[in-house]
Amino acid sequence: MKALPFFLLSCALFFGACSSSEVLPFTTEEVSMLASGPLMEGSNTAQGDYQPALEKWLQSKGARMADVREAKLVKASLVLPDSMNSSLISEITLHLAAEKADMQKVGVLNPVPEGQTGLVLQTAQEQKKIADFLRQPTMTFVADINLKKDTMPDLHLKGIFEFQITLNR
């Protein structure tokens, strides 16, 4: 009977070692996002489509889609056009959307610091099934931009987004 706890502990250690994981960074290319004008004071929507091509990326890492355990957005950066700085914006909220995944809020910047063209958002602590977005052929980055006043006809943003992908190894 005394051997039983040792046996169970050994099993736990063995299976724990078998289910080891690896965390890799997955950074998007520059994503062009557009809010079509006219843009009014208040909330306006900027959106940009992105093709993650996750399967190809995984192959380059010697992994498969089935190896993906989870994913998380860890950094979201937005660049405003030179003609506009952040003083016109009061807050920004970032969402992910895709046809076969439920929209999820993943970042916020409130308040937006004044006089800048590069902005880094605070990412959400709780994120669920982010890998589902990256598995889609196309996903959409959606930024709700709260403007302090009416502004130019269209707003073009550039976004770079960094995910952490956990793989079962």
């Binding site: 909330s43 929507t45 909220t93 959307a97």
Partner: protein, 150 residues
């Protein structure tokens, strides 16, 4: 063109027309709407193939305690409690099928709770918004009116 090709073309045209009509009907949800309590106005838009709605106007935009713009202070995720209510996406992921918008959710900022939701059109200026947990029959319906901009 023989008869077989003719019927094939007719069938393709009919399918395209039906799809276009269905899409148009789905898009009648797009616009500015006001819930029955009149506390907010919600702009519904289409992103990809789905419909989403966000709060664009609040009757009382500031929190009476802080005198600052209202934020989502009841969100279960503490890191998201600084998200402003003005601009908040409270309707998400609605898909138009069989004459109604389904598979979506509605968020109640007053409780921080999210409910399953189905939207139906009563007439072009009136919506039935039914929120529920689990079973549709055990939900609550609110009537929203279209806001016409002057």
């Amino acid at each position: 063109m023989n008869m077989k090709s003719f019927w094939l073309v007719c069938s393709l045209l009919a399918t395209m027309l039906t799809t276009a009509i269905a899409q148009d009907n789905g898009d009648q949800l797009i616009g500015l709407w006001e819930p029955s309590n009149g506390k907010a106005r919600v702009k519904i838009e289409k992103i990809g193939s789905k419909y989403y709605g966000k709060i664009v106007w609040l009757r009382e935009p500031n929190d009476p305690q802080t005198q600052q713009p209202k934020v989502d202070k009841n969100n279960p995720d503490e890191s998201m409690r600084s998200v402003p209510l003005k601009g908040y996406r409270m309707l998400k992921d609605f898909v138009f099928k069989n004459g109604e918008w389904t598979d979506g959710t509605i968020y109640d900022p007053e409780s921080g709770s999210t409910y399953s939701c189905v939207i139906t059109v009563k007439d072009e200026n009136t919506l039935d918004i039914r929120g529920y947990v689990g079973v549709k029959a055990l939900g609550r319906t609110d009537v929203w009116k279209r806001v016409k901009l002057k």
